[in-house]
């Protein structure tokens, strides 16, 4: 089936098999391999992207469902060559160890801050319930999100 999707500001059209998951469309068809597959069972959030501004686990969505939508992946977050404040936060607070969960953590955190501009540490922990870090580096992840929220005016 033919779909048209705006990804990181660029419209792409492709013919896809209905059973192709959005995450495979992004990674295998478009080469946007920043988005990861961790669990493949809707639990870990490492595949998180934004669909029309909302955080989505892209392993739990067919590419055909995204027809007509706007998608942002981790590759589309930095604007004009400068990192998004959330990316800076993860860098400065060392919010990653192996880095596998990081793109999903960052996308989920950006979406979370849109709805909760002034989060407490506990809000952040609840807000990121859909994202698992196998390295268990949660402490610094929470610090990174907090730092980003302050930088973004929270």
């Amino acid at each position: 089936m033919k779909i048209s999707v705006k990804i990181n500001g660029k419209t792409v059209e492709r013919d896809v098999d209905p059973r192709m998951l959005l995450v495979h469309f992004l990674r295998d068809e478009l080469g946007l391999t920043g988005t990861k597959v961790g669990c493949d069972t809707s639990q870990c959030g490492s595949c998180t992207v934004h669909l029309n501004g909302e955080a989505l686990k892209s392993c739990t969505f067919f590419a055909v469902q995204a027809d007509g939508a706007e998608i942002t992946t981790i590759e589309g977050l930095a604007a004009n060559g400068s990192l998004h404040p959330m990316q800076e936060g993860f860098w400065e607070k060392h919010g990653l160890q192996c880095g596998y969960c990081t793109p999903g953590m960052i996308m989920a955190s950006v979406a979370f801050l849109k709805k909760h501009a002034h989060p407490t540490e506990e809000d952040i922990r609840h807000g990121l319930e859909g994202n698992l870090c196998r390295c268990t580096g949660y402490h610094n992840i929470v610090a990174a999100v907090k730092a980003a929220s302050e930088k973004m005016g929270g």
Partner: protein, 283 residues
Amino acid sequence: MYPAKFDYYRANSVEEAVKLLAENSDAKLLAGGHSLIPAMKLRLTQPALLIDIGKIDSLKNIKANGSLEIGALATHARVAASADVKKWFPALANAASLIGDQQVRNFGTIGGNIAHADPASDPPTVLIAAGATIHVRGASGTRAIAAEDFFVDLFTTALEPGEVVTKIEIPNLSGRKSAYAKMSHPASRYAIVGVCAVLSMEGDTCKEARLVVGGAVAHATRLSEAEAVLKGKKLDAAALKAAADAAIAQVGDDAMGDITAPADYRRAMVGQYLQRAIQSALG
């Protein structure tokens, strides 16, 4: 993981979805996909045709006007954030806010949730407690099913093949006090036990209590023994304890168990969460 091959059709209206369902016996509706797609990836289900209803905007509305009507495609995030739901039936807004995680709430829908009828779901419990009505449409027209009669067994509802849930209607509960108390699975956040209480009070005395348990049993069920214990009583600690004991006795051998929460533990927690729901409803 790829699901088995299927054909995909995007329905533009409920009528079209109903027609396609009638013509294709091996078809399934696709709403938010947050129960169906994981099951298809595991090949627990392999429909030949998916009818995507996700873009039918008329099923997304939430409106309060005499009763509260929630379209089947309202996402959990929208139900949780809706000013009408918070005002009309805060227990439902709270239950929706406790579902899974932000990603799941953004895409999972209330209609898909009740049609799926996972015993560990939250909405069935609160909808039965509210005395909600489920509106459905099939090839032979529309019908209304009381939430209490809708959930029949594990993953089994009163929906006939070919029927589509269109909206959920919640009666006017003004003057009632309500709350939902949930013990979440530590990883998935699904309900291990969830209890909803909707109380009619006259001063300290309970005129009527609607108490419903989910999570611990095969489908959300009214705790009628505990309801009877509380009727006409002052809701003091002794009454709550008596209601909890009645609830535990009613759940009895129906309690389900697994590696995270064995049956006796869940049964005991029904009593605890029943008391928490009532206390939180009373504020």
